[in-house]
Subunit: 224 residues, 2 copies
Amino acid sequence: MYAIFLPMLKNNIQVKDNAAPDLGASLRAKRKELKLTMQSVADAAGLSVGFISQVERGLTSPSLGSLASLAAALDTEISSFLHQPSAGSQTTHEASRLAYSVADADVSYERLSTSFAGSKLHSVIVHETPGHRMEPISHHGEEMFYILDGEITVEIEGEVEVLRKGDSIHFESRRVHSTWNHGSSIASILWCGTMDVFGDAPAPIHKKASPQEVATYPTGETEK
Amino acid sequence: MYAIFLPMLKNNIQVKDNAAPDLGASLRAKRKELKLTMQSVADAAGLSVGFISQVERGLTSPSLGSLASLAAALDTEISSFLHQPSAGSQTTHEASRLAYSVADADVSYERLSTSFAGSKLHSVIVHETPGHRMEPISHHGEEMFYILDGEITVEIEGEVEVLRKGDSIHFESRRVHSTWNHGSSIASILWCGTMDVFGDAPAPIHKKASPQEVATYPTGETEK
DNA sequence: ATTTATTTTTAGTATTACTAAAAATATGGC
DNA sequence: GCCATATTTTTAGTAATACTAAAAATAAAT
């Protein structure tokens, strides 16, 4: 399913010109958004103002404990400082939504989700012709199917289940899964997941561990 | 919308008996899931095996750089080690799905999403009676609405938009948003988002900054 | 029982996370 | 423009700790 749709959808991606901002810049941006001074953040986090300054400018890296204090002082989850990705139309209308299909005409897609800084949610409506089978696949993230029309067979790690109109399933995507439209009509599935199927995100960090590569992580001067 | 549904849904939560696992435990769990030895992780991350052992047992806290190396070695995003929630049925069928309603009978809900370690995706079908209005709200995360039936007016930061059957909208939840069923029939909305509306996640960290409190963050012995 | 694999412990030490205070810069009021 | 105050950056440390190599303990495989 995804293997089929990735190459086609990638052709519609506008790559935003800014690189992923680093941790310090993210912290400063948030502080400014909240119109706080370094001193007030320092007081709330129990750290020194000089340290805040150095962290924001990437001259030093906070420990996890201090980062947690900073995140709390800024009323923000730590994870929101660890990625910052860009936009498209937030709203889609059925009548004017772009439908995509590929050489393999068994499947067509309608993208629902947009993309913005930090977005992790991806959604698409998939229409599969009778008899269409998706190859077994496994990948990061999690996903949900909601059957809008028709019926399909879903297999997850060998467990088979039939889903009909109005049914849903939610699972971790690392579990090997596949679908089959066993019915006699087109099946329409609303897919919603955390896998970046549209290639929206910049600079992935899911490379195989090579320490030099990892050193690009936003920690300022931390270097191996 | 959420303010209304949170208290009600919380009543159906089975609290898993284990407390929120900490960072070290999360790292160990992931390593075991991948069937890796500490030595192989250490090699991949460019760290020592002794250090991995101490980190996993919470005896020491990795720097952000080292944590990034570990995350990469485990082919996982850092943020997934910073929270760990628990399960329910992955599949829901329309005919047997539990529908919830509250004292305020204008709205009823059908939960679609389940919950498992690391799950961040939440989905629910919301049925709103004509005239129902959701108070303006803003919170962390992002969300998507897909209109299954009926029509609603959505307002996001003052921008008003009408969504009809088959339409969708996807936005960052921190933008103040509200909905209104302006139609004459029940509106059914498939909501999919990253906000933990069911209270699945243990130990929230969204407390107001009190350094002592923040010190409970999963960093092992780090103490102020 | 023996060997090997894996994890934990020990004993450090180089590095740095973080400080207080001084200096520089920015802002606001008159 | 001048002056006072607010805010940020810089400086000069140092206590703490992030991380190590190697030994010891434990677990697993044969």
